[in-house]
């Protein structure tokens, strides 16, 4: 296709898209209006499920099945990247790349090493906090999980890839990935066993605002947190491994 017709086509398509978006946005209720269907959802979650953070109430209770699907998508994505990136049996660690990389880590600026190392602890605490307080304040399993996985990146940025290699976190993150996914499915089946339907909230709801409240919502949040930490860390570990330690064939 020549450049001019292509540009005309693009402009037409984008103009159409812009018109559709403007039309759709025009039909929304004004920003901040306390009415509409969202009101009923908030009432159900706060008064019946005792979940202070209604966003996670929707994610892990009313729409728990959607989250199950999303979680399994991430699980399969991590599995796929591990299968693609993992070095084959014949593929040996390139000694030269290993040495290059050792000297590269020695070159990491002291400031970066110190700051990175000092921040790992607080970051992990923040991640765990966000995971377990999902039903009370903004956050939850996915958000906390990616924060925890970012802790691994921080170790890498501080030039401690060699330390990572010695600890061999691959097995650990694989287990976390699988355990989180399995735990979610088990809670879903628990709904069938202890209540009427899969993913029904079958635990006691407790008092709104307590750490142990809202029934299965915090349990599912922790399951997703473990799974997301494992999945994102697995993808990053495989990429780091493939890029830094194996030098090709």
């Amino acid at each position: 296709m020549r450049a001019r017709p292509r540009a005309v086509l693009a402009v037409l398509a984008l103009a159409g898209l812009a018109a559709l978006i403007a039309w759709a946005a025009g039909g929304l209720t004004p920003f901040g209006t306390p009415s509409g269907p969202a009101n009923g959802v908030v009432r159900t979650l706060v008064h019946e499920r005792h979940a202070a953070n209604t966003v996670n109430g929707v994610t892990y209770d009313l729409r728990g099945l959607d989250t199950l699907g999303e979680e399994l998508i991430l699980f399969v994505a991590a599995l796929g990247s591990a299968v693609l990136l993992r070095h084959g049996r014949g593929e040996q660690v390139d000694e030269r790349a290993d040495e290059e990389h050792e000297s590269a880590s020695a070159r990491t600026a002291d400031v970066l090493r110190a700051a990175g190392t000092a921040l790992v602890g607080p970051l992990v605490v923040l991640g765990v906090y966000v995971v377990v307080h999902g039903h009370l304040s903004p956050g939850g399993g996915f958000q906390g999980g990616v924060i925890l996985a970012a802790g691994l990146l921080l170790v890498y940025a501080a030039g401690q890839v060699v330390a990572l290699e010695r600890v061999e976190p691959t097995a650990l993150v694989e287990v976390a990935d699988a355990t989180g996914a399995l735990a979610y499915v088990l809670v879903a089946v628990g709904g069938l066993v202890f209540a009427a339907a899969a993913l029904e909230n079958f635990l006691p709801f407790g008092t709104t605002g307590n750490l142990l409240s809202a029934g299965t919502i915090p349990v599912l949040s922790v399951a997703v947190g473990v799974e997301v930490t494992g999945a994102v860390a697995l993808i990053l570990t495989e990429l780091l491994d493939q890029t830094l330690l194996r030098g090709g064939e």
């Binding site: 970012a150 990053l236 990429l239 090709g248």
Partner: protein
């Protein structure tokens, strides 16, 4: 609409355009990271903190790192072939 919301919308519009205009993939990864941060601020300004928290880590840290690692690997392979 508050001032913060207007500023965040403008930053997102500018950031998105910049990501498209930058041609070098390495720079593009960093510009995309800044664009992700602007989006996170936009989500905060429009009262969606849950989305903003995941946006901060995924778009400003995880995705650029994955892009940079993939680029490093590609360049290594190119050098080896020469």
């Amino acid at each position: 609409m508050t001032v913060l919301q207007v500023v965040a919308l403008a930053a997102v519009a500018a950031g998105g355009t910049l990501v498209v205009l930058v041609r070098d993939p390495v720079r593009q990864a960093l510009v995309a990271s800044m664009f992700g941060l602007a989006l996170a601020i936009l989500f905060f300004a429009f009262q969606a903190p849950d989305v903003a928290i995941s946006q901060i880590v995924v778009a400003t840290v995880a995705v650029p790192v994955m892009i940079l690692l993939a680029l490093t690997k590609l360049r290594d392979d190119e050098e080896r072939e020469r």
